[in-house]
């Protein structure tokens, strides 16, 4: 399938800045919240949604996302169930949906079967942080690209220039810029050192758009990230908001997203959800 029809590509064609990508763990806080969270995020005006497939041993994730995954697994979340939930909500939103998980889950499902299922139910892109570039290129790129799926690789402050070029060549959709040497989870602020790194990458004029993730948790950190990239990804801070939602899911989602997009609820940024435009 042609990547020009991919929703991630279409989003970045249309919108170049202040892109807000929200991550949540599927099956948290309750097993059947997936669809409601996605709809509420769409209503709140986020641009991209990253759905985490809960995993027993998430190496790249900090305590907040780990714990949400444990709860989701205890709730009974499985890949087949998640695929059903996504298929059901796909008709209700036109936002790009990205699936994030670990390679063992993909292997156990069957790699090709997994990628085909993603395409079939309307997933737009994948993030599999422990699938290395070299394995992707040798074994999976052709399948994923022929299915019209996007794939985002990570770069960090330690990633070499040569390797960033390779990431740019192999990624489709956007590049995931890890803000810091870290696992996921909120950090207090963005440092000078990080700004230098954001600047350096911006200056490379990569062909893919860039989203900054890890440690983005507030209006302030989101705004800073948006100065140096096309947007940012928020995970742990959103999980915490869900954690304290006490069953009022849509209010919690709306409140959280408003707090990220507006310092005092004033500077309302334009929503680009095509269903509403």
């Amino acid at each position: 399938m042609d990547f020009n029809h991919n929703r991630i590509r279409q989003l970045f064609d249309r919108k170049k800045e202040n892109i807000l990508n929200i991550y949540f763990t599927a099956g948290f806080p309750r097993l059947d919240d997936t669809g409601d969270i996605i709809t509420a995020l769409g209503d709140a005006g986020v641009d991209l949604i990253e759905i985490g497939m809960p995993y027993s041993d998430p190496l790249a994730d900090g305590p907040t996302i780990q714990q949400s995954g444990q709860v989701a697994l205890r709730n009974g979340m499985t890949l087949p169930l998640l695929f059903e939930q996504i298929a059901a909500v796909r008709s209700k939103t036109d936002l790009p949906l990205i699936l994030m998980g670990y390679f063992n889950q993909v292997m156990q499902y069957g790699e090709t079967a997994f990628f085909e299922k993603c395409a079939e139910i309307g997933i737009d892109g994948l993030i599999i942080p422990d699938l290395p570039l070299v394995e992707y290129k040798a074994s999976y790129r052709d399948t994923i690209e022929s299915l019209g799926l996007g794939f985002s690789f990570l770069i960090t402050p330690q990633t070499s220039t040569e390797r960033i070029r390779m990431v740019d060549e192999l990624s489709r959709g956007f590049i995931y810029m890890v803000s810091n040497a870290a696992i996921t989870g909120a950090k207090a602020d963005i440092t000078r050192l990080q700004i230098d790194y954001f600047d350096r990458i911006k200056g490379m004029r990569l062909s893919n758009p860039r989203l900054i993730g890890f440690g983005i948790s507030s209006f302030k950190t989101f705004s800073t990230a948006c100065e140096y990239a096309n947007g940012a990804i928020i995970g742990s801070a959103f999980i915490k908001a869900l954690e304290s939602s006490n069953g009022h899911l849509s209010d919690a989602v709306a409140g959280f997203v408003a707090g990220i997009k507006n310092e005092h609820g004033e500077q309302q940024t334009q929503s680009f959800d095509p269903l509403k435009n």
Partner: protein, 396 residues
């Protein structure tokens, strides 16, 4: 076909480096440099000297006569329990600490199950004056208290891993997360032949001193450097990798990998990966691991903290899948029995891990003329609480 790791870090279909990008620079640097550093004459001189003068190598190859009479074959014990710190683990930590110094690293992290690798790491860090942080499952901190005390006395910080089953797997997860958070100054000393390439190969090479010595020791004892069987316990599989290493390409030598069956292979409380495991990725390598149909890693169980691991090193997965090595599964009770049996026939108290290898003697078929080497990977001081409980409850 020769058994060795290939350029991509694979043994057959097992191995590789399935790591998040955050770890790539460190792992890549190791991959690029480990062989050339290990081959430097200066490195080899220091490594060999420390193994001799500090660890006390060569470790004896002991002909266990009463044990041999009991089983009706010739049984040698490779006495890794007599090494400084009481297990084979120090062979690897000496090698990796020298390597870490060459890489300019100042902070050392490690995971540990039984605490033997943690102690061995804390020891070499004390020796070299480097900061040491050891991750250990909260459950293991309880059941291996003597080793926790030793690590603390050596100046290491022991950090509990409180996720999952709070054992070796979770300690390894925490160590990996620490490395992600501290990529520049930290070297991660993995204690087994697990993890992303080049760790399995690097650790196997450091441990290969075990079979290197066995060859000339056997030649002295028997006139033949090759035994009929080599038997070793396998959690991740580092003592087995070391004991098998120089026999991998000698098919006449039977290699026996002994796993922990816990309360029984199919009891739901087991760590018998070769039987229960399927292909997947754990801790950065593609190997056999215990997992659900949905790809979630299953919490393992064994009375032995060092074997309580849901995976197996990729080299062992390859050896077992290709039939080069035989796998034997031993329950908690069988291991405890074997520990008492060795203690009372030979006056040697083995570690619980090692007791699994000894118990395999009851399960294997062999000829009277066979010469066997059991890798006595560690001593049992750390397991006295479990042994005394067994002694009291069984009227021994």
């Amino acid at each position: 076909m020769e058994i060795a790791v290939d350029e991509r870090g694979y043994y057959g279909e097992f191995g590789g480096a399935f790591i998040p990008e955050m770890l790539y620079p460190n792992v890549e640097e190791l991959k690029r440099r480990y062989l050339s550093i290990m081959e430097e004459p200066d490195f080899q001189r220091r490594f060999r000297q420390l193994l001799r003068d500090y660890v006390g190598r060569p470790s004896p190859l002991y002909l266990a006569e009463r044990l041999s009479n009991h089983y009706g074959a010739t049984i040698y014990l490779k006495r890794e329990d007599l090494n400084h710190t009481g297990a084979h683990k120090i062979n690897n930590t000496i090698g990796q600490i020298l390597l870490a110094q060459k890489l300019g690293k100042t902070r050392i992290i490690a995971e540990t199950g039984a605490g033997q690798h943690g102690v061995a790491t804390a020891t070499v860090c004390a020796l070299m004056g480097l900061q040491c942080i050891v991750y250990m499952g909260a459950v293991d901190i309880q059941r291996q208290a003597p080793n926790v005390a030793r690590m603390r006395m050596l100046g290491a910080e022991v950090r509990p891993a409180t996720s999952g089953s709070q054992t070796l797997k979770d300690a390894t997860n925490e160590a990996i997360r620490d490395w992600i958070n501290h990529p520049e100054e930290t070297h991660y000393i993995i204690g087994s032949v697990v993890g992303p390439h080049p760790y399995p190969d690097m650790v196997a090479r450091f441990q290969s001193v075990i079979s290197e010595e066995m060859k000339w020791q056997l030649l002295e004892h028997t006139g033949n450097s090759d035994p009929d069987l080599v038997i070793a316990c396998v959690g991740g599989g580092s003592n087995a990798a070391g004991a098998f290493y120089h026999y991998l390409n000698t098919p006449a030598v039977r290699l026996v990998a002994v796993e922990a069956a816990g309360k029984g292979i199919h009891s739901g409380h087991s760590a018998a990966t070769s039987v229960l495991g399927t292909k997947g990725v754990i801790h950065g390598s593609r190997t056999l691991l215990m997992q659900t149909d949905d790809g979630q890693i299953i919490e393992p169980y064994s009375i032995s903290a060092g074997l309580d691991y849901p995976g197996i090193g990729p080299m062992h997965a390859h050896l077992i899948k290709t039939g080069r090595a035989e796998a034997v599964s031993i329950t908690d009770d069988e291991a405890l029995n074997a520990a008492f049996s060795l203690t009372r026939t030979e006056g040697i108290i083995p570690a619980l891990e090692t007791a699994h290898a000894l118990a395999a003697l009851d399960k294997l078929s062999f000829k009277k003329t066979d010469i066997m080497v059991v890798c006595l990977s560690g001593r049992g001081d750390k397991d006295l609480a479990a042994y005394i409980e067994y002694l009291d409850s069984h009227g021994l």
